[in-house]
Symmetry: C2
């Protein structure tokens, strides 16, 4: 490096017009290829095991020091990667709670990556798009003007942020400066059905699982309000500071929603932070017909939800909303002077998104939300949310009608838990595995009151009622097969 290189400087862009034309042509081929894939997804199996040779290549190929070119890399993708996904884009995928994505969302991701801003909050359009999306979200969730928020990588980060704001706002000592050792022990309350993000967040936040009070649930898997009240009183008596109640809109096991209005009342009476994990359930609030079951959600101090689940957007994008913008700012703001020095130009003004998250650099995940909302309209998304609930009820009704099937829980929303009747847990698990392996459908499973259940979580905009019948048919047929093998 003593001498400057004399040769032309390099770039990762194509070297000349011909190179640009070639890459652009490849891009058009890719676009057609991925459109073919999405458009034809119904015709293929939901899931298929990766063949050994693809697996071997992904396990054994060394660092690619020399490039093979974009066309060859794309061929590898088409051969070894694209066909062997988890299957969540398929109309008969209802495993865990996943999103199916849309072609509009996919195109927006291409545009976002081509424009490629760092949405840390500069004086630029991408920052304004994210802020607009947050405003729209706040309005849709019934939260007041001035609500602050952020798009995140997903629900767990959104939940973590909401909880961190609540901790700072309600701890009554300087958590950021002095740390947890300087104050009394803190307590957070959530039902036993609360998603595992809460334990993980409390661990990371240094509070430990000891700071979690797991409250029992009623027969509908909803938090017992009386039990929370008692726990708060006992904690106060013991010198533990009650900090926050976490309500859930749509539990992961059965789709239950806590009595959010009752929790809001309790938080108001006791001076606690009210955080809601609405990972998928929160979007039901957009529907006038479904909203009554979520009354009180709009009273959250902080609300976390995903858009890559029931918002039908490609991974990843979640959102946190915080009612008190100043409390939010106070919990994260650092006042990094190098970002604030300028009165004009790209560093002037702007919203310091980095003051709302542990992150600094941020991708333009707002664009896919913005374009999807504008292109398809929020009403069409809401109609599909309603349709997913109707389909879940349709499946539940079918299960209830079939002598060989039985429901394992109530169906308050879009989740259906059921079993092949008269089969053991192991046999029901075997039935589920065959349904998955044969590429018919991918539900997942859960355990309710100690018993295994096949679990259908429907956040899929491609599903039709016939797809749920196909699942029921398959479980019956394979159930007979598995039980028949018993002898």
């Amino acid at each position: 490096m003593a001498e400057w290189k004399d040769e032309a400087e390099k770039t990762l862009d194509p070297a000349d017009e011909a190179g640009w034309a070639e890459l652009r042509a490849l891009g058009h081929r890719m676009l057609d290829g991925i459109f073919d894939h999405v458009q034809g997804v119904r015709q293929g199996p939901v899931w298929r095991e990766m063949p050994g040779e693809s697996r071997l290549r992904l396990e054994s190929e060394g660092v690619p020091h020399a490039g093979e070119g974009a066309a060859a890399a794309y061929e590898s993708f088409v051969r070894d990667v694209l066909p062997y996904g988890i299957g969540n884009a398929h109309p008969r995928f209802w495993g865990w709670v996943m999103g199916s994505g849309t072609p509009v969302g996919m195109l927006a991701e291409m545009l976002a990556a081509g424009m490629n801003p760092n949405v840390g909050g500069f004086n630029d359009s991408a920052m304004m798009v994210e802020e607009q999306v947050i405003r729209w979200m706040a309005e849709l969730m019934g939260m007041p003007e001035g609500t602050s928020g952020l798009l995140t990588s997903g629900g767990s980060m959104a939940n973590l942020i909401g909880l961190a704001v609540g901790r700072h706002a309600r701890a009554s000592f300087d958590v950021r400066g002095e740390g947890l050792k300087s104050g009394p022990p803190l307590r957070v309350y959530g039902s036993t059905e609360t998603h595992s993000w809460l334990k993980k967040a409390l661990e990371l936040m240094g509070m430990g699982r000891v700071s979690l009070c797991s409250v029992g649930v009623d027969q509908g898997y909803r938090m017992k309000i009386g039990e929370v009240k008692e726990a708060i009183a006992a904690d106060r008596a013991a010198g533990i500071v009650p900090l926050c109640i976490v309500g859930t809109a749509g539990t992961v096991n059965t789709g239950a929603t806590d009595d959010l209005a009752a929790i809001a009342d309790l938080c108001a009476a006791e001076g606690l932070w009210f955080h809601i994990d609405g990972a998928f359930g929160a979007l039901a609030y957009w529907s006038e017909r479904l909203r009554p079951a979520l009354t009180g959600m709009e009273r959250a101090d902080s609300l976390a939800f995903d858009l890559h689940k029931w918002g039908y957007l490609p991974y990843d994008v979640g959102c946190v909303l915080v009612r008190d913008a100043e409390a939010y700012r106070a919990a994260f703001a650092t006042g990094a002077s190098y970002l604030n020095a300028m009165e004009r130009g790209p560093a002037a003004g702007g919203i310091r998104f980095a003051e709302r998250t542990p992150e600094l650099s941020r991708g333009f995940r707002a664009l896919k939300v913005w374009m999807s909302f504008k292109a398809q309209g929020v009403d069409s998304i809401t109609e599909l949310v309603e349709q997913n609930v109707e389909q879940a009820r349709y499946l539940a009704a079918r299960v209830a009608r079939e002598l060989e099937l039985e429901l394992a829980a109530e169906v308050p929303l879009n989740l259906v838990c059921f079993r092949y009747r008269g089969a053991s847990d192991a046999e029901n698990q075997e039935i589920l595995q065959r349904v998955q392996e044969r590429g018919i459908s991918v539900p997942s499973s859960t355990v309710l009151e100690g018993r295994f259940a096949i679990r259908v979580a429907n956040t899929n905009h491609r599903s039709r009622r016939e797809d749920f019948d196909a699942l029921a048919d398959a479980v019956i047929a394979i159930g007979r097969e598995v039980v028949g093998e018993r002898r």
Copy 2:
């Protein structure tokens, strides 16, 4: 909802063949549009202020309940968003430390969003792609086989995770279960030049800023090793448990790299966790010529870096590597049974990425890394890293030659801090603002030893030496202009 809808079920996919053809055609138009944008980026200004009408639309348009169609949404993007980014894709953008992105990375993002897997770690190809990328990264960073890791939204999350693993591994009490209140106070050491992520992480982790010991730096902005040693001894004497030393490979102010080998020795001697923030600097390790300055990096217990900076990939993607895979697992694993129940099918086997992060659902950000590496080769990326350093030295030499300019710090890597000589801080700031506002170039600024400096951070694969001359020319011309206005 008492009755099932009789009409055809809806979807967010196009309704029929004609609809698919129309959307696909729009996709091709978008692809051409964004290719035109990227290919022509050099011809436009680096940054331009958003016009009032675009700003107004983004500030005032309400929730789009009815959709306007994808074509109209795209027109809005082209009109109001695309031209008014922060400018980081432009060859004369060197503000903060940002990435410029590549067209191959952009196409990979489209494919990732079209396939749309949830890379939580199932029995699928996307999980294997991410694991392969992590293996490649470990090898490139000189870390041993068996090193664990994760792709993250960026360096701050990667750093947070590394620190959290270190805390769990070295705290000598059960942080996850019992929380910080159950053990002695902990201390983390980093230089005064350590990036602000560290304070933010300690705050979130409940340790408070009080747990940070900020160590002084020498004239080259490198951590004073003797001072760390003394601080550790004093802390031990005071009953504080030394936990971790954070070394930096490439500080944000000047590009300095701590004496990583000396820190590694010290950590080994004292039993401390050795974490390195290599947000951009770590990638210099890939170059044989630059590597000597980073000797010791391969000895890190955990190493965090970005690929959307010096890896030239679109936002967002960072990486954390952890040498001791078991320590990593122990710090985050939850053993969520609903993910592990199956012996076959999509939930069998797999790597539980969710056990390496506070997150659960995860996007397919691995694909752009994998395709970029395969298509362009790691060696070409490394050559561009070297070129960026050469260009920084070229600018530094030009600054040193010009009577009207002066260097504000040494140039150990790819950052150049300089001033218009004989101008005040306010005047230098005015010069920078005019350079930015006129769309000539976007450097950012910093303060070194109490004085304002224009700061060029070069992680841009599109820059040429002529671009740095254009900046120097502009600073001289505008410097004369600003100083001339003094009278």
